[in-house]
Symmetry: C2
Subunit: 330 residues, 2 copies
């Protein structure tokens, strides 16, 4: 049994080809929930969903979010109505009082659906409606995720890291904003002063996550700040990682990041934006998989391979390196 | 200036052809909100929406609800997911505590979105998301309805009868159910023991509605129990109707109803299911428009015409009879 920690892009790309090395029935994926939002009253879980859609073989492999060939009739109509009603777009946060009322799971990350700022496809939306309906009926996010995974035919066990609310908040000179505003609405452009995991101090890892983290753990090439960071902020996760064998795949080649805002966010939170910085952040990791061109010297076991993953075959190659690193670390 | 009281089918069919008789800029439509529901967290207002979609010329004229040629990708996917996740359909009421928490406007009529029991088209859904978003941003249903009417290019002033929650509950031998369960999910088949307008005693007509009811009022051929009944239950409406000139169009021809559950619901609530029963229920009406074949004798002024409305020209003919009746009653 192995457990992957996953954000929304790097680790899913790895998961796309792990099967020959890590059989699905022996694999658990713990997904970040720090970038979840409640949009139009529905809980949207971008990282959980990418893992579910990948496992259900419906993921849009161009974007690594959303469902392939999905329509967006409702989303487009929301923008048409907003334009015709003279309602401004952009993230329309609900007010402070509304941020902490109603469903506990959605605290600090509630947005009106008016002129919907995230692109939600019509089939994708059905996932969020079903999830939120089941939450409102009294089920936990863990239970709901299992039901959705079963419905989609996902081969792995997929677990949200916590059933409690954690909101990744980005502090900028313009004020604080939710990570989804920073990344989706603002294209990652605002200057970042700090990143806060609101609710992290009160959130606890689920029992299912604690059990999964007793197995060897693979930290995929995800963004260490906003993908893995929220998970580390949750009570029980860091301790579990320190107690088990952990292999991490660097999302950098030296100081070059493959994709996403990892470098900017690491620099803003006082980390070196590089493989060395990732290794420093992951003090619990026993071994690393680095790119063949990454000359970083680390104080832990290292396996090198071409870590660029454009295809499932690439991912299988990286998975074999992970397997080697796990064998060396144990 | 005239004001129409409207439910979801009979009166909208009349509104479809009133323009030559009652110019839109001098016409207000007060719509029933007793059959509104919160479905998947979004406020759905069937009668308000039928008036908005009619006025915006996007109504589906086969069903008299929803948007013409709308797709239902999300709705269909909700059913596919529910089937794949082994989640039962049917109206999935939230529990008692959830019925009165959160948005006040949605009290006693909250349903999970799982296996969505009402058919909501993709464009139609965008209306509900925008409405609910604006409500969550702090606007009243009256204000939100005006914004939506402007966006859709609706020629009339459209007003929800109240900004307070009123839920039409149908009592049956199987227990109580919301009118939408009775009518949409159960096809109007359960035996009706009584109809209750939950929240009606605390609900008040808006100032805009009170102003509109100072003008001559036309009660369209709507269901007297669940379309007009909830409006009469709201504080300020019955008194206003007693003080102004009111013409009502009977939804019956003698004892035959044109469509819908009016006869069954009238019988269950102790009224004669006929034009005579409608006249008894509408003690505030000064005159009636009856079908040419309706031989009912009434103690008030009567104008007769063919009241079957298949086309806009039919509606114009009925509107002329309404104008005659208003002239006689004043």
């Amino acid at each position: 049994m192995v457990t992957f920690l996953s954000g929304g892009t790097g680790t899913p790309k790895l998961l796309a080809g792990v099967e020959p090395v890590f059989p699905a029935e022996e694999t658990t994926v713990v997904a970040n929930t720090g970038d979840d939002v409640e949009l139009a009253g529905h809980l949207v879980c971008p990282d959980v969903d990418t893992v579910l859609f990948l496992g259900g073989d419906v993921i849009d492999r161009e974007t690594w979010w959303g469902i392939e060939d999905d329509t967006a009739v409702t989303h487009d109509e929301l923008h048409r109505i907003a334009a015709d009603a003279d309602l401004a777009g952009g993230p329309r946060y609900l007010d402070d009082e509304a941020q902490t009322s109603g469903r506990d799971i959605a605290r600090w990350r509630r947005f009106s659906g008016v002129a919907e700022f995230m692109h939600i496809g019509d089939r994708d939306r059905a996932i969020h409606l079903t999830r939120t309906g089941l939450l409102d009926e009294g089920h936990s996010l863990t239970t709901v995720t299992r039901r959705l995974a079963d419905a989609l035919g996902v081969p792995w066990t997929v677990l949200p890291v916590t059933d409690d609310p954690v909101a990744s908040m980005v502090h900028t000179p313009e004020g604080e904003m939710h990570f989804q505003e920073f990344w989706v609405a603002r294209d990652g452009e605002p200057t970042v002063e700090d990143v806060e995991f609101r609710g992290g101090a009160e959130a606890v890892a689920t029992d299912a996550v604690r059990d999964a983290l007793a197995d060897p753990v693979i930290v995929g090439p995800s963004n260490p700040v906003t993908s893995i960071g929220p998970m580390l902020a949750v009570e029980g996760v860091r301790e579990a990682l320190e107690a088990t064998t952990v292999v991490a795949v660097s999302p950098f080649v030296g100081e070059e990041v493959f994709s996403g805002p990892a470098a900017k966010l690491m620099a803003a939170t006082g980390r070196e934006p590089s493989t060395a910085g990732v290794a420093a952040a992951y003090s619990f990791a026993d071994a690393f998989v680095l790119d063949a061109a990454d000359e970083t010297e680390l104080d832990r076991s290292v396996v090198r391979t071409d870590t660029e993953m454009g295809t499932a075959a690439d991912a299988t190659r990286v998975a074999r390196a992970v397997r080697d690193a796990l064998d060396r670390a144990r």
